[in-house]
């Protein structure tokens, strides 16, 4: 009465509602569908545009001082000067120009340090989690010792020894924050490694490299992206602490972090000095987080287009 079936009728797959995005427009479709993703992309593109064309957009030379017009409030506040839209700082430098030009260093340092730290952390975390045994012990004890020393202290030592420059700062930031990624990647690797599909890869004769690339990496990438995007913010703030201590960006160069620390003294009297670079950091970080969120969705095969 009931006979064996050769082909299962596949009801669930034929629903028009759940058709998957396909083809080369898949990414764009997925992006436009996600409002926050689009917003993130717009913000990040705007910030990059600002950094690239800073010289053309900035109304003033960001290093030019004008003692007469020092600590002018923003244009719309009483006593403001319409020439200086966002006001001026304690040396009479135009804050708008400094925010625009400062985006260069901040984005460069923030993103390169995260990329560097992410790469080191991903590599070492995968090694430790996948191979275990003594490799794991060596890497994880190193991570522990890094965590035992305060980040800022370690970076200060590096910068004091090698001397402050953009490159040393990126290396110092990347060289200390990788431990966060290493720990997370190791943990995720350990759990993914025990899943049946990794066992099934071994059963069909996959070598270690294939298992890591095809099985482990794609399955830990979403957690990695979340941590990395959140860390862009931390890194930009860390850069500001270093600049505040005089070991980061050296004047006449400018970064949002440096501006934040400059403004700290005047927080009570002239709020605008620290506020605008702060807003710039916040918007950038939000943009990167939105974009990261979208990226995570794109990489997830479960995402569908309606």
């Amino acid at each position: 009465m009931y006979t064996q079936t050769e082909t299962e009728k596949d009801v669930s797959l034929e629903t028009p509602k759940a058709r998957k995005a396909s083809g080369r427009f898949k990414w764009i479709k997925l992006l436009l569908r996600s409002k926050t993703g689009t917003l993130g992309l717009v913000i990040v593109l705007a910030m990059f545009g600002m950094a690239v064309f800073a010289d053309m957009i900035a109304p003033f030379n960001p290093a030019e001082t004008d003692v007469v017009n020092r600590l002018l409030p923003p244009a719309w506040v009483e006593g403001g000067n319409p020439d200086y839209l966002l006001g001026t700082d304690n040396l009479g430098r135009d804050i708008l120009s400094r925010v625009i030009v400062g985006s260069r260093v901040s984005l460069l340092v923030g993103i390169s340090a995260v990329v560097l730290a992410g790469a080191i952390g991903l590599f070492l975390g995968l090694l430790a989690g996948f191979y275990g045994k003594w490799i794991d012990t060596v890497i994880m004890r190193t991570v522990d010792s890094f965590l035992a020393i305060p980040n800022i202290l370690f970076m200060l030592i590096v910068l004091a020894v090698i001397g402050p420059s953009l490159m040393t700062m990126i290396f110092a930031l990347g060289g200390t924050t990788w431990v966060v990624y290493a720990r997370m990647v190791r943990g995720e690797t350990l759990s993914v490694k025990e899943r049946d599909y990794v066992r099934s890869a071994r059963a069909v004769g996959a070598k270690d490299a294939r298992i890591i690339w095809q099985y482990i990496l794609p399955n830990i990438v979403s957690s990695f992206i979340v941590i990395a995007t959140l860390n862009v913010a931390t890194t930009i703030i860390l850069e500001s602490s270093l600049s505040f201590l005089g070991l980061g960006i050296q004047p006449p160069d400018v970064s949002w972090g440096l501006m934040l620390s400059d403004g700290r003294e005047y927080l009570a009297t002239s709020w605008w000095v620290a506020t605008f670079p702060g807003i710039a950091i916040t918007i950038t970080v939000l943009g990167i987080i939105f974009l990261g969120d979208w990226l995570r969705d794109v990489l997830d095969p479960k995402m569908k287009i309606k």
Binding site: Q4, E8, Y197, A203, V204, G205, Q214
Partner: protein, 332 residues
């Protein structure tokens, strides 16, 4: 009976000798070993070409660990697994990898055994790619052929595992396992995570494939009805030991080991007129890190005597092809 005599004339494809797997229990900062779990504690088995050997037992009896060792995915602590005359435990990592072409596996959970990030085409084609057997169009054609064999088709190529139901995923897993044209399939609880009506589909499919491709199955399960349906011979395991091994009909009709008897009577029968009348087996499974002395079943055995506490029974052939490890076998 026919199966046993037929088996006697054949040479075993896999021979397991005194196989053991002990897992250390570690604790503390420096991973001190505080004990061992004797997951598999000295088993001997033979698997003949073209047959289905069922391995049954409750959780913690070591049946899955045995399966992993048969595949060479887990190195044994002691003993050997001889496959076509070669001891798998003596092979190097690379030799073992190449050997595994002939030994494939189907997993229990179709939701966790397929990489969620791969498409069906990648999943089924991967084994062929790894061994460099097929490329380009030939690879795709082969994948389509394999999908048809398991009752799917080319519409499914570009899809990801999450778009399929449990039964379909299990079919994908079977297609992937068949890709290398293996001699042996180790089925590790292949139907226990599926719905009843889907279980039947998969069991029927496995039977059909066995006939078509002359496959040898090792079918590991805790559900006795499914094992009976598919197996020629059945080994019953308890706490890391094989307690009884024989052809399926004698196992079900005249179990010799008290544990087998208890296991059989514990199965709820899908017939309300045949409700169980006697009391079920009492007590819990002992802890495998500290198994009972003598016969491991004596703590729960209704027939246990003094000798069972002191002396460990060995697997004895009581009838042709019917082995049991019991001092006082039933019906003898």
């Amino acid at each position: 009976m026919m199966n046993t005599t037929a088996a006697a004339n054949r040479r075993p494809l896999i021979q397991v000798k005194d196989l053991k797997k002990h897992f250390p229990i570690t604790r503390g900062l420096f991973n001190q070993t505080v004990g061992t779990v004797r997951a598999v504690d000295g088993i001997d088995l033979e698997v003949y070409e073209g047959e289905t050997l069922g391995i049954v037992g409750e959780s913690g009896c070591g049946k899955s660990t045995t399966g992993q060792m048969l595949l060479g995915l887990l190195p044994p602590s002691e003993g050997s697994v001889i496959f076509e005359g070669k001891d798998l435990t003596s092979l190097s990592k690379e030799e073992l990898r190449l050997r595994r072409k002939d030994l494939q596996v189907i997993f229990q959970d179709p939701y966790s055994s397929l990489n969620p990030r791969m498409t069906i085409e990648q999943l089924v084609g991967e084994p062929l790619k790894i061994y460099g057997l097929k490329k380009g169009k030939a690879l795709r054609d082969e994948v389509v052929r394999l999908l048809r064999v398991v009752g799917l088709d080319e519409h499914h190529l570009k899809r990801h595992p999450h778009e399929f139901s449990g039964g379909q995923r299990q079919r994908i897993g079977i297609a992937r396992a068949l890709a290398l044209n293996p001699k042996v399939l180790i089925c590790d609880e292949p139907v226990s995570a599926l719905d009843v009506s889907i279980q039947a589909q998969i069991l029927n499919l496995l039977k059909k494939l066995q006939r078509e491709f002359n496959l040898t199955y090792v079918f590991i399960a805790h559900g006795l009805p499914a094992v009976r349906h598919i197996s020629d011979r059945i080994a019953v395991m308890y706490l890391g030991k094989v307690v009884e091994i024989t052809d399926r009909d004698s196992l079900f009709e005249s179990p010799t080991h008290p544990y087998t008897e208890a296991l059989l009577s514990a199965i709820p029968v899908a017939d309300p007129t045949k409700r169980r009348t006697h009391k079920p087996l009492e007590g819990d499974l002992p802890n495998p890190s500290n198994p009972p002395s003598g016969c491991r079943f004596h703590t729960r055995c209704p027939y246990a005597q003094e000798r069972c506490v002191k002396e460990e029974p060995s697997l004895v052939e009581y009838k042709p092809g019917h082995h049991a490890a019991c001092h006082y076998p039933l019906g003898m």
